[in-house]
């Protein structure tokens, strides 16, 4: 088990195994809603907590695996590092499972402070859950740093890895490599990924300090801001990882390459900043938050969709149109992903409007938005890449049975 390909496959298979199990937990919750079973509130909220945390960790792990395989040809990744991150992530996930199913931790996957320290579960469960989150974040950070170092080395500096020569129309020296779409997407993700993890550290350290009795508590508004820079950004970055997989998969079935160009370079460089801003929309109903931050949230919620739509989605449709595409399961998944990502994104823009959010915040609109966005987009794109990787363009994924199953 020494190659990046093997590690990547382990990431994807494990990630989707977790995805399937968490989906079953989701089914349990819906059966409770329908009145078919009676879990009781304690078990329901424990399952809800694990479902959310596990889904994010599972899909993220699968996407990291897929992207590792796509970019490793030029951004060399160490198999040893990938396996180390895998083990760390596995341990962290195990702690989260223990904390919820055995320890009774049920503060929701967002664990909004001061809920983790005010619940009626043993403090050991809180420790296990938060340490589990810490380990998963460390695994993600390891991956980010590895890609960051690899990208700098491969392209002769971070600015080149971010396609600045294309962005600023500088003359490119002969032999100087220009990043492809997936490589640029991965570099953008890891820059924001490091920022998100740092915010997570700022969120978690005071809670650990409180659990140790070093502080009596800290500001809830500050905590909520740090929590959502971490959580919202992490989930949002997952979709950009999955976008790298769209570029890689769709090209194989259409025979067309997603070319690096000025709009692509501009869009992804804008995303570095824009993806950090929409998290404020989680805090619109915290009226104590200064108004300019609310407005930044609305600006970010509107703005981040523009480069994503006009570069990735329109570009992907351009790859498809008139390409005599080989219709197979991965292409169906990507098409469904383009639909769900956009529909979920439009729902996000609407809910990202402060005036509308006042009657929609924390209603069913919100899970409807992120389930369509995440399930079709992040999970769907990664699922497409896994099918493509296992089957190949001419393989079983092109069979009529696979196509019908994809439709289902």
């Amino acid at each position: 088990m020494r190659s990046v390909e093997q590690a990547a496959l382990a990431y994807m298979v494990t990630g989707f195994a977790v995805f399937l199990l968490m989906g079953l937990l989701g089914l349990l919750m819906r059966l409770q809603h329908a009145g078919w079973i009676d879990l009781g509130p304690r078990w329901f909220y424990r399952i809800m907590t694990l479902h959310g945390a596990g889904m994010v960790a599972g899909v993220l792990l699968a996407s990291l695996g897929g992207v590792s395989q796509v970019i490793t040809a030029r951004i060399r990744l160490s198999p040893r590092l990938l396996w180390s991150a895998y083990v760390v992530c596995f341990l962290g996930s195990g702690l989260v499972v223990l904390a919820t199913l055995v320890g009774g931790f049920a503060a929701g996957w967002t664990t909004t402070y001061p809920l983790p320290v005010r619940g009626d579960w043993p403090v050991s469960a809180t420790w296990a859950f938060l340490l589990g989150y810490t380990l998963v974040a460390v695994a993600f950070l390891l991956w980010c740093l590895a890609v960051l170092v690899g990208a700098r080395r491969a392209f002769g500096g971070l600015t080149s890895a971010l396609a600045w020569p294309v962005l600023f129309r500088r003359p490119v020296g002969t032999g100087q490599p220009i990043p492809t779409g997936p490589e640029l997407a991965a570099t953008v993700v890891v820059i924001d990924g490091v920022i998100a993890v740092l915010a997570g550290v700022v969120y978690l350290v005071p809670i650990f300090a409180q659990l140790l009795g070093l502080v009596s508590g800290f500001d809830v508004l500050f905590a909520k801001n740090m929590l959502f820079i971490f959580g919202h950004t992490l989930v949002n970055l997952n979709i950009y990882l999955a976008v790298a997989l769209v570029f890689a998969t769709l090209g194989a079935y259409t025979g067309r390459a997603f070319k690096m160009s000025f709009p692509v370079a501009l869009a992804f460089n804008l995303v570095i900043v824009l993806v950090l801003l929409p998290y404020f929309h989680h805090r619109y109903q915290d009226f104590a938050q200064p108004l300019p931050l609310h407005l930044v949230g609305q600006f970010g919620s509107y703005a981040v969709g523009v480069p994503a739509f006009f570069v990735t989605i329109v570009g992907s449709l351009g790859l498809l149109y008139g390409s005599r595409v080989r219709w197979s399961a991965p292409v169906f998944f990507i098409l469904a992903g383009l639909w769900g990502w956009t529909v979920g994104g439009m729902a996000a823009v609407i809910d990202g409007t402060i005036a509308i959010n006042n009657v929609m915040h924390n209603t069913l609109w919100v899970p409807a938005h992120f389930h369509s966005y995440y399930l079709f987009g992040a999970a769907g794109y990664t699922w497409a890449y896994l099918f493509h990787g296992l089957s190949g363009v001419e393989g079983w994924a092109s069979s009529a049975l696979a196509r019908w199953l994809a439709w289902l």
Binding site: A106, T110, T254, K259, Q285, D286, L291, R324, D351, V359
Partner: protein, 232 residues
Amino acid sequence: MLFWSYTNFVVNRQNRNESDDVGQPEEGVRCRLVSGVLFLLLTIAWTGVLWWVATRSGQVVPYERVSAAVSRIRRWGAPLVVALLAIAFLVSLLFLPYAGSRAQRLGEPAVTVDVTGRMWAWELSRTSLPRGQVVEFRVTALDVNHGFGIDAPDGRIVTQVQAMPGYTNRLLFRFDQPGFYTISCLEFCVTGHHLMQAQFTVQSEGDRPWLAMPTATSRQCGRSNRQRSPTW
């Protein structure tokens, strides 16, 4: 400056027009309606676009031609969408739910209600409110974050604000429809979250017992405001 002048102009016009229109639908209803219709139309349009592309994906069109079309879509479409979003952004500022904005639109509050959320009950200093007057809720929490969401008698959510430990959030609202309003917790607060409800009444015109209600005493209201054991 020009924009703020415009905003004040529109808001002042709204004040004049809405001061006596107690029967008008609230902002929340309008927001939901606009959102729902917009979302439905966009979803149908987007589904149509994808279907159109998918049905033409089996044909052969030179990629150079497609790339040129994609470039045109980006060149013209992106500025158009940015302009539409900018307009939506500016218009939406007229309907901000924050206390300062609502005071401008609805007027200064005539009644104040102190609200405290705690696991898993709401405490309100008043449980009977006047119809057609601006009410100010001063919302805080004792333990963890809660969501102070108000449902109209027909079950629609009309407004909300977070109840946060260490902060008092001011929520202004004018109730135009009399009846029983339900407060539901809209921020997950563990075991008894789904039971954390309370009620208050908006009195119809001519019936104003709220004038006699205490203003400083904190009291729990109604049967649904009692702390309940979270057993299903």
